[in-house]
Symmetry: C2
Subunit: 154 residues, 2 copies
């Protein structure tokens, strides 16, 4: 479903004729997210899982399950949140993954990403480092997920 | 300079003792950005370069130079903006890179990232797909760069 549009976009870019995201592409991403049946959150943290499920419910999406995997290892990579999400792609049959963690280098603050079953990034949101914004973890995660869904028109 | 703090953070994560970003880490990233002398923007687009330079000036940073490289190729990768920034790491002696492009899959909207001379991500900001937010390119880029700097307390 997404593949056909990604192929078209790649061909446009290769020919130097790409003019930015198209309505149909954003629509296909929205459809993919809304039709998710098995949502996985690679995280030990029950607070994050609760916050994410609260927002998923508001958007009419099914409840996500936590994935108990050693995600600390992701923090030794250059993009911890992307690495966490890929851990879920590689160890579950999730069709949608929502991961939250560090953006980049230590001190770079946090990122939430929405990834599909093949490891493609569909959406994301970024927050300040906690020590700067001072919000509770729950509040920060809820706002990030809302932003990540709303920015696609959901 | 950053290396020492990254090593400490990695050791904390490996021991399961990491508690999130520290003030000193965010401070070191701010210092790195503020001491940049050679800022490169991997982009053909003069509009983006002008918008970025306008904001850099507001934050007391030196003028960035454009890098004329075939960045369309980055749009055939999974994280086009990260790929563009790495192109600048690998082909210039920039100490700071500011790249702007697509976040992930076609339709996923845009991202601006601030990367250091070794390819580490220091900050970022994310926007809706243009067809959703409807802002001019200039306005969108200015807001993203401001957000990416301010979220670190700059």
């Amino acid at each position: 479903m997404l593949e056909e549009h990604i192929k078209k976009a790649y061909n446009e870019s290769a020919k130097g004729k790409r003019k930015g995201d198209k309505h149909i592409e954003v629509e296909k991403i929205r459809e993919y997210i809304l039709s998710a049946e098995n949502i996985i959150i690679p995280n030990w943290d029950e607070k994050k899982l609760k916050s994410i499920n609260k927002i998923l419910k508001e958007f009419g999406l099914p409840k996500a399950k936590g994935l108990k995997i050693h995600t600390n290892a992701a923090d030794l990579t250059r993009m911890p949140t992307i690495t966490k999400a890929l851990m879920a792609v590689d160890t579950t049959d999730a069709d949608l993954i929502i991961a939250r963690g560090r953006l980049g280098a230590p001190g770079s603050g946090s990122m939430l990403i929405i990834m599909d079953h093949k490891g493609r990034i569909l959406s994301a949101a970024i927050s300040s480092p906690h020590i700067i914004h001072g919000k509770s973890l729950e509040k920060a995660v809820e706002e990030e997920l809302k932003t990540a869904l709303q920015r696609l028109g959901l």
